[in-house]
């Protein structure tokens, strides 16, 4: 029972980290109908930019702001000059090739600039330390991560559900052409959503760095898990990203804790079952293949 409760907390930590990633990936898909395979690279890039920010500015909190801004700006530029050329019709293959190519370029550039050494980022002093929990000490940073993830989910929901911009974004998910017909600059909305999506990946990179460390290859590890989350939760919805992330985070954690030999298998088994029962994911848009 004690072990179960500890693993429940671990599962929440994993789930919240995945949620921040998946929210970005899902937003971008919902808006532009693009599976962004460079999302993992933006996680890693965010982590490394955060690392440099911590080293230069001496503050984890500033890194938390700087990294998403920098990477979000890069995302904005990528959408404006590259991705924009490949919208519409049956151009999924070209989009996948572009974003996968970007992922490869990014991972080489990262290694070129930051080296191939494993790097880690220390949690801020305010959140270091532990709380005794049965036989172990539970790190305060991880508890804070759970709270932060939940707060971010609420914030994103309020933004999408209650603001004018949120309404435009949601309308864009349903029918971008109609939104454009109403006189709204869809191009700007797309670029904005892509920037916010990549900024979320970078945010996850900084927050995750004290837990996952940073090293070459982490980008694709994270990307695969995030895609599983989005597929399970349903493409294009925040709700799907949230519950998908929780489900996969829990499956991953409990799998590792109780049946480690099958833990990777378990994640994909969960995905398979969900897809069998609900082909468009738990909370997916019914007709997502526009």
């Amino acid at each position: 029972m004690e072990n179960f409760l500890i693993q429940l907390l671990n599962g929440l930590v994993a789930g919240m980290l995945l949620f921040i990633m998946a929210a970005g990936l899902s937003l971008i898909f919902g808006q532009m109908n693009v599976i962004n395979l460079s999302h993992g690279a933006f996680y890693l890039l965010g982590g490394y930019v955060g690392l440099s920010a911590v080293r230069q500015l001496g503050s984890f909190w500033l890194a938390l702001i700087v990294a998403p801004l920098v990477v979000g700006a890069i995302g904005f530029v990528i959408e404006k000059f590259l991705l924009r050329r490949l919208y519409g019709g049956q151009r999924h293959l070209e989009q996948v090739l572009l974003t996968f190519g970007l992922a490869l370029v990014a991972s080489d550039l990262i290694q070129w600039n930051w080296g191939a050494f494993v790097e880690s980022v220390a949690p801020p002093a305010l959140l270091s330390g532990q709380v005794p929990l049965y036989t172990i000490q539970f790190p305060i940073y991880r508890l804070a991560l759970i709270v932060f993830g939940l707060a971010l989910a609420l914030l994103l929901w309020l933004f999408l559900d209650r603001t004018r911009i949120g309404a435009i974004v949601r309308a864009g998910v349903t029918n971008a052409e109609m939104v454009s017909g109403l006189g709204i600059n869809v191009h700007l909305v797309f670029a904005g959503v892509f920037a916010v999506g990549t900024a979320l990946a970078a945010l996850a990179g900084v927050i995750g760095a004290p837990i996952t460390a940073l090293y070459p290859g982490l980008d694709f590890e994270i990307l695969i898990l995030t895609i599983v989350v989005v597929v399970v939760g349903g493409l294009g919805t925040l709700k799907g990203a949230f519950w998908g992330a929780l489900l996969i985070g829990m499956a991953d954690t409990f799998g590792k804790a109780y049946i480690p030999q099958f833990s990777l298998f378990l994640i994909f088994a969960v995905m398979a079952v969900v897809l069998l029962l609900r082909p468009s994911g738990l909370f997916g848009l019914e007709a997502w293949s526009r």
Partner: protein
């Protein structure tokens, strides 16, 4: 949209592409025609990871090899040394493909490198059947000195058995008699379980739990911590490398186990490449390895200084192995007078090679086709403001038994 348009290749494009490819493929053959025999440049194939998680190991080994070759003027036994590097990633398939490329296309005299045990095992049959020489500068899979031994693969690095076997008995006598083991679920992990258990149990210890974690992607190790805390063990023995070495050591400290249950490991886990990222979380970790940064001998001091000057970073055990490998290659080539046409003649010289290495006395054991060298018991301490593995004890020479009798 028009899908066809984007995929169309004109006849002219195709001809250009085909012509270019053919020319590129023909070049090495033309070059190699000039380089055959006992004169002309001598081509050495280097198979190492330059991307993915083991990229740092590949870079260390390469830098140190080049450093040695530069020291001897890039010329051995009258022949110019030419290195051709290929990236194996961490994939046995890619490793095999690159080995074929080096041997069949570049026609190298012999091959060196290989970091991952999985890649080494995957290459074994190819080198055995083509009777090409592979001098392995890292991968420690026990099997290559035992059941899968072949005359064509020799090691200048270590076997996976050495570190866990050395620390096992010491742990039972000095730390406690109940041990939990946590290892990645693959061949090298199992080598560590048997090596450690055999010597630990022979010295009166009992292994109470073995935890096998997903490989290669362990992810966040947090879910494994509760089981270790509950195990009732006096110590935890582990073997992780790369990113997992950092996240495991940090989680072990974050979840409060570091102060409770001493952490022991194969020395790679707290080597110089990961120690800065582990930081103070690694303090007090005990390990065994055939080298330490602070090892005080003339060769090591000179090596460390030269490596630092050349690369701007501190040496690690992988650099030492690269340096020793280059030296072994040089001695071998001098023995055969630079004539690489007879692989068996080159192999015969390997058994007699011994010298003073940065790791201490170094010799190649004929039976295991791997080095005999000292093992050092080390503890992570702060040495002059930086974390290093302080040497607690020189445990003396170790040599792989060449069979599974000791684990």
């Amino acid at each position: 949209m028009n899908r066809k348009k984007s995929l169309t290749v004109t006849r002219r494009d195709f001809l250009k592409l085909a012509g270019g490819t053919t020319a590129a493929l023909a070049m090495p053959a033309v070059l190699s025609a000039c380089g055959a025999g006992a004169s002309g440049p001598l081509r050495i194939g280097v198979l190492l990871p330059y991307s993915d998680i083991y990229a740092v190991l590949g870079e260390s080994i390469t830098d140190a090899m080049r450093m040695y070759f530069d020291e001897v003027g890039n010329e051995i036994a009258g022949r110019q040394i030419e290195i051709i590097t290929e990236d194996t990633e961490i994939s046995p398939d890619v490793g095999l493909q690159k080995a074929r490329k080096l041997v069949e296309q570049d026609e190298v005299a012999f091959v060196t490198g290989v970091v991952s045990s999985g890649v080494l095992v995957g290459l074994r049959d190819y080198f055995h059947e083509t009777q090409k020489l592979l001098i392995c500068s890292n991968a420690g899979a026990n099997e290559l000195s035992r059941g899968l031994k072949t005359p064509y693969i020799w090691r200048t690095s270590f076997t996976n058995w050495m570190a866990p076997w050395s620390i096992g008995a010491w742990a039972a006598q000095n730390v406690g008699t109940r041990a939990a083991i946590s290892i990645p679920d693959y061949a090298a992990g199992e080598n560590n379980v048997t090596g450690f258990s055999n010597s630990y149990e022979a010295a009166g210890g009992e292994v109470v739990m073995v935890q096998r974690t997903p490989f290669p992607n362990m992810g966040d190790p947090a879910p494994f911590m509760a089981e270790l805390a509950d195990s009732g063990a006096d110590l935890v023995y582990t073997f992780y490398s790369g990113g997992a070495a950092v996240t495991f050591v940090q989680a072990y400290s974050d979840f409060g186990l570091a102060g409770q249950i001493p952490l022991l490991c194969a020395g790679f886990m707290v080597e110089e490449d990961v120690l800065p990222a582990q930081g103070s979380a690694a303090l007090g970790t005990f390990s065994t390895l055939h080298w330490s940064f602070v090892l005080d001998n003339a060769e090591n001091n000179a090596f460390k200084t030269a490596f630092r000057e050349r690369t701007g970073r501190d040496a690690d055990v992988f650099a030492v192995q690269g340096y020793d490998t280059a030296r072994v290659i040089a001695e071998m080539l001098n023995e055969v007078g630079g004539d690489t046409s007879d692989t068996n003649a080159m192999i015969e010289t390997l058994a007699g090679i011994s010298f003073a290495s940065p790791r201490g006395p170094f010799a190649i054991d004929t039976n295991s086709q791997a080095p005999r060298h000292n093992m050092y018991l080390r503890e992570v301490q702060e040495v002059e403001g930086t974390l290093h593995n302080a040497i607690m004890e020189n445990m003396g020479e170790i040599v792989d038994p060449g069979n599974d009798s000791l684990g």
